[in-house]
Amino acid sequence: MVWLSPVLAALLSVIGVTLLFAALGRDPVEALATLFVTPLASIDGLTELGLKATPLLLCAIGIAIGVRADVWNIGAEGQFTLGAIVGSAVALGWGGGGHWWVILATLFAGIAGGMAWAAVPALLRTRFNAHEILTTLMLSYVAIQLLGYLVHGPWKDPEGYSFPQTRQFAPDAMLPLLLEGTRLHIGALFALAAVPLGSVLLGRTLVGFRIRTVGAAPAAARYAGFSRNATVWVCLLLSGGLAGLAGICEIAGGNGQLTPLISPGYGFAAIIVAFLGRLNPVGILFASLLMALLYLGGEGLQVSMQMPIAVTGTVQGMLLFFLLAADVLINYRVRLLPARRAGVVTDG
C-alpha cells in the first residue's frame, strides 16, 4: 500500500511528460525513449546512473531522517557546496605528497564542511528559534556565492587561462574508481552503505525512536523527555555531514577541481527523492535511481533532441505533485473510516 502512490506518481508523470512533449510539438515516443530507456541500455549508461544517484542518495537519506523529526533541511545544496569547498581546501593544501591519508582527510573535511554549514541553522533554531526552512535555504544561496567568490578570486588557478576554476587535485586526493574505464567511483559505496545504516538508525535504535517521536508528536516527545533541541542538532549535523560527503565525493571522484557550478541541483532534487522514497532509506535508494535516470535522460534529450535541460526540473516538480496527490487520494480511502469512528467515540 505504501508503495502504491510513488508508483502511481511515476506513471502519472510519464503521462504528464507525454502530454508536455506533445504540447511542445515533439515526438513523445522518441522523447520518452531518450528519457527513460536509452540511459539504461549500456554499461556506460548504468555506471553514469550510479554516479548521479550517489549524491542524491546521500543527501536524501539525511533530508529524510530530518523530515521524520519534522526538521526541514532544504539547504542540502549549500551543505553539499561547503563539503566540496572544505574538502577541496584539504585536497589542494595537502595533496601531491603521495600520502595515503590525504584522501581520507579530504573526505572527513568534506563531511565537516557540510556539518559546519548545517550547524549554523541548528544553532539558530535551537538558540534563537529561527525556522530551519528559511535559514538552510538562505545559506544555500550564500554557499553558492561563496563558491563563486573562491573560484573567481583567491582559489583561481593561475594557469587556468582565466577560467573560474581551481587547480587540479593531485592523484593522491582523488577517490579511486570502482570500475576502470567508467566514471563510477567508490563514493557510490558510501551511499549504498548509508542505506542500511539509515534504516537501522531509524528503526532499531533509541535515537531513531526519539527522532520519529519528535516528528510524529512533539508534545509526546516532550512528555517522554526526548529533547527537541538535541534532535534538531542530530538531524541537521547528520544530514549536513551526508550532504558534505556527497559534495566532496562529487569533486574528488569527478573532475578534481572546483568550478562555479558543481551541482545540477542535487541538493534540491534530493528533497523530492526523500519524499518519493517515503522517507525510508530503502525506498530512497530506488527513488534516487529514478531521479538519476531523469537527470541522464534530460541530458540525452538535450543532446539528441535539442530539448532544454529544464525538462528535468519540470518532471521532478511534476513527480512530487503527483506523489502528494496520489498519497492523499490513497490515504483518503484508508483513513477516512477510522477517523470518523474516532470522532464518534469522543462524542458527548
Binding site: L134, M138, G313
Partner: protein
Amino acid sequence: MADVQLPVAIVVATLRAATPLTLAGFGELVTERAGVLNLGVEGMMLVGAAFGFMATVASGSLLIGFLAAMIAGAALALVFGVLTLSLMANQVATGLALTIFGIGFSALVGVKFVGMPLGGLATALWPHLAAAPPLLQQFMLLDPVVWLALLLPFAVHRFIYRTRAGLVLRAVGESHDVAHALGYSVLRIRYLAVLFGGAMSGLAGAYLSLAYTPMWTENMVAGRGWIALALVVFSTWKPAWLALGALLFGLVTIAQFQAEALGVAIPPNLLAMLPYLATVGVLVLISRDATRLKLNAPAALGRPFHATA
C-alpha cells in the same frame, strides 16, 4: 542639482527593488492570515515572470503581460490549493514542490525567450526616458507598479482590520474549526486567499522580467520569493512592518549596485550574499522572542482543515 541626484536615485532604486518583495509579501501575508502556509512563492514568481514576459512578447502589450503573469501565478496557486485544501496534503511539502516545479517549468517554457530584448515598463510609458534630464528620469522610473506597491500596504491594512471580509479572514486563520462551527466556508475563504497570493506573486515576478531587469533568464527571481516569505515572518503578520521590511531589503539589494557605482572594491559574489545573510539576521532577530511570534502568528497557520461534521 548633483547633490540631490544621488539620494533621489537611491530612493528610487530602493523603491523599485522593494516592489517585487512588497507584492509577493502582501500576497503571502493575506494567504497566511487565512491560515495557509504557501512556500511556493519563489516558484509562482518565476512562472509569473516567464509567462508575463512571453505574453508581452506575443501580444506586444505590457498590460496583457502583467495580467497573464497574475493568471499564471494564480493557476499555480490553484494547484497548491487543490492539493493542500481539498486533498489536505502537507503544506510544507506541497509548497516546496510548487517551487521546484516552478523553477523547472518556467525555464522550460521560457527557454526560447532567454536574452530576448524588451523595452520594459518605464520605456513603454515614457518613450523619451533616455533623453530626459537625470532627475526627471528618476521619477519616470517610478512606474505604476511601484505606485501600486506603495499603496498596497494601506489597502491590505484597511481590508484586514476595517472590513468584515478581513475580520472573517483573520477568524479563519485563527481557528478554522470555530469559523466552520459558526457557518463560514473555510475552504472558500482559504482558496480566495491562496489565489490572491498566487496572483500577487505572479505580478511580482512579472515586475522583475518586465520592468525591473527587464528581460527573462532562468531562475531570475534568485531567492526573492524566499525573502518575501521571511519578511512575512519578520513583520509578525502586520502590514506596516511588512512594508517597512520590504523597503529595508530593497535598500540591501541595491547596496551591491551602489557599491559598484561608488567603485568600492568588494567582490560581487560577496556583495550578492548580503540579502540572504540579512534575511537570516532578520529572522533570528524576530524569532528570538518566541512568545511574541506565537501571539501574532495566525493560530491555524499550516494546519490542515478537515470539516469533522
